[in-house]
Symmetry: C2
Subunit: 349 residues, 2 copies
């Protein structure tokens, strides 16, 4: 069996482990952040972890009202005049904890006296050593090159931290439902295989696709796009629906494939409007949604009722996107465990 | 003559006007920001203005050491629980000043007591009315759908604000050189036409291209990619070199076109390394550079010595990118003034 596919299946168990094991570390981090009355967060991450950072940006800004700045690591490693971080909490997200540029952001944050948190799957990594507080992902070794379980573990840890910073009974109860929602997500396999087949057999997605979300699901769009790129060599461009309308919509022509991601929430109507616009202009629209039925005119869909509030829907949706990427790679005769050009750990400076 | 091409040519004059007319407004803004000892900036923008925001992020973080958070407008217009902004300066960048979501960010910032700045070409716009301080772009009416002069005017205003916040004789002298550097950039027209011809005639860029920069030129990569998309309907994906290596590099296959953007500075070696990697893997590499000679193995290039420090090079480089987009549209028989699917002013909520 493919390692990628096997690790996808581990996600409910990983989520249970995270929920059971993280209370103390998360509480410690929340206390440190609360004690400093920070102005906001600076988050450093690359690749899939950078999409976890997008999720964190929405969650911390909306639930905790803390502005989030995504770090530009070259300022720390190349230009050497990084911004003042002492009024911020610096959070790094990295499975391996070993990309030197992400480590450099945390090192500088600590040097300046900021609260520094390392969310990593390797508590023995350089990143963990540099940070004041380590938040382990508890995902176990991830061996497939495309990330799966470390992505959803990162999202869950971010959500736990948000909850610890601003406790709320309903949100805490919803967090407890995440493992079973991830189990439900594994049951969309047939739909994912069918959507992959539609995409592949029709050559509609020969070499490019646009992936659109808004709000919390911008992170989902980014992560699904990367999974499609990594496993199936598709140039997949992810954007928020609103940004897409400010220019990139010019690329729409008959036959252009577009994957829309939405779940119940304030942004859902915008995604529906985009579906109509894209369909009217001849794009071939497919969808990943929590609705029982896809939007009218959608050619194929994965429908995934999650039972979760929108703020947690990116977790099961990521699983559905992983299954789509896995089956698309198989349809194309590619090895999803070993994308070409990539190693498991990428080090950038 | 094409309006787009005519407005491209106006940029040296616009830059002179900005330098002559903006001292008071910029000084006023800098005094307001300085008086509040802000923790950082929150910038709201869409489309080309969002790429000016990317430029502003690097400049304010590197020159002024102020962390920058790019606003997610849906938090203000859809989710309705925006972050706390009172310790920040809120800067909106918008040519038209009329996209409701960008206006909403400024309105909320002002309601919360933040310093609010509106950088706009329309001092009579909703955006200008909502902000405490208006920074006019002085670009004159822009009628072509793809932005040109309002983009470089935005960058110049951002640079003037950065300089006013932290005066520095060398940087101020370099600012005075911008108009003549933009004139020089207009002289690369033949190179731009030739590069467009190479791209078009070879069908190397049938429908997709990756555009890579790092540091200050991430903004250039984003803006050139959008210009290519708007005028020539190419799915152009812009990324930092480092982010590209963390996953999207999987898309590289023989024949994939890649445009690299670099000028002298700490990030240039990284772009060179990416050029080597891409060439070794069979990509077709073209370049926009300030070097006298392109990197080895590059198929075609625009070489543009700017005489400016890297922090200001994105201004003349944007002009070169506009000329490339203009000539590519002509090679493809498209009307660069009126991209399909787009109006001049996009309103998103």
């Amino acid at each position: 069996m493919s390692r990628f596919r096997a690790e996808i299946a581990e996600q409910p168990a990983v989520a249970r482990r995270v929920l059971a094991a993280s209370r103390q570390a998360v509480g410690h981090a929340a206390a440190a952040v609360g004690a400093r009355a920070v102005s906001g967060l600076v988050i450093a991450a690359r690749g899939s972890s950078d999409h976890a950072a997008t999720y964190a940006k929405y969650l911390f800004e909306l639930r905790n009202r803390l502005p989030v700045s995504l770090a530009s690591p070259s300022e720390y490693t190349k230009y050497l005049t990084p911004p003042r971080l002492d009024r911020f909490c610096v959070l790094a997200i990295s499975q391996s904890g070993s990309s030197p540029d992400v480590v450099a952001v945390v090192r500088e944050g600590r040097r300046q006296g900021a609260v520094t948190l390392a969310l990593t799957n390797r508590p023995d990594s350089d990143l963990a050593r540099e940070a004041e507080i380590v938040l382990p992902m508890h995902a176990g070794a991830e061996r497939s090159v495309p990330a799966s379980k470390t992505y959803t573990a990162s999202l869950l840890m971010v959500a736990l931290l948000s909850c610890a910073l601003e406790p709320d009974t309903r949100f805490r109860d919803a967090l407890a439902d995440v493992p079973s929602a991830l189990e439900e997500a594994l049951r969309v396999e047939e739909q994912a295989a069918s959507l992959a087949h539609t995409i592949h057999s029709d050559r509609m997605m020969a070499d490019r696709i646009i992936v659109l979300g808004r709000g919390y699901h911008l992170a989902t769009a980014q992560e699904v796009a990367l999974k499609l790129t990594e496993t199936s060599h598709v140039l997949a461009q992810a954007q928020s629906v609103a940004d897409f309308l400010h220019g990139p919509v010019a690329v729409v022509e008959a036959g252009l494939p577009a994957l829309l991601v939405d779940s119940e929430g304030p942004a859902q109507a915008d995604v529906e409007a985009a579906a109509t616009l894209l369909r009217d202009r001849g794009a071939r629209v497919v969808q990943l949604t929590d609705r029982a039925e896809p939007w009218p005119g959608v050619e194929a869909a994965i429908t995934l009722p999650t039972g979760l509030p929108e703020a947690l829907a990116p977790l099961p949706f990521a699983v559905a996107g992983q299954l789509l990427a896995y089956h698309l790679a198989r349809s194309r005769g590619l090895d999803p465990d070993h994308p070409h050009q990539l190693q498991k750990v990428t080090r950038t400076w």
